[in-house]
Symmetry: C2
Subunit: 124 residues, 2 copies
């Protein structure tokens, strides 16, 4: 679908540091939110700057999966930098021109499995 | 869509502790994975037990959003118990009978926003 292509192009542009292409995929008034930190960025110019200047150094992103709705999608990605590798979940909303209007991402960290339910699970 | 209804029914059954309905929504060989802890549960019976016995005490779950693909979906939920409230992200896959065959969830925690990008964001 078109929505899947837009999300794939978004991550490909980020991986390539092609900020012109990246910026052209988002709406003028794109809205970004990171609920875990309470950070927010509004507008294309600020959002491109956040991505191009906010993550200096070596990093790579690989798409693991995209769940595609009609005008929304969720990507599961693996982000790797010099500190190691992290899982990222990113919600996208698109407008009728296929531009990304909102992005909300989540970065869950590993934690110890609760001992009280150990008898109910396997480990991997 | 049918997929949206199945995911909504899954959370409604969990909230109601209606484990018969809950179990009837998942496939015989349902596969559950919690990548953050490396916990895994296989099969309907074990998965119902994990849910019915693994989370004793008072808790509630509210659906914030569901992104619906054809045979897959992602739900964003708010889970509240005596310790407070958490965001949960849950990936579902369904078979052609509409039964849930796999569930993978993520529980991202709040963290401090990196100081080095403070100039690039607003706070909320």
């Amino acid at each position: 679908s078109g929505t899947r292509d837009v999300v794939a192009a978004y991550w490909a542009a980020a991986e390539a540091r092609n900020w012109d292409v990246f910026g052209a995929l988002v709406a003028d008034d794109v809205f970004y939110e990171l609920p875990q930190t309470g950070e927010r960025v509004q507008g294309r110019e600020a959002y491109v700057r956040f991505n191009s200047e906010g993550f200096p150094g070596e990093w790579h992103v690989i798409i693991d999966r995209i769940v595609v709705g009609e005008r929304d999608a969720v990507s599961l990605v693996r982000f790797t930098d010099t500190n190691g590798s992290q899982t990222g979940l990113c919600f996208f909303e698109l407008d009728h021109d296929g531009l990304i209007t909102s992005i909300r991402d989540f970065w869950p960290e590993p934690y110890a499995p609760p001992a009280e339910r150990a008898r109910l699970v396997e480990r991997y």
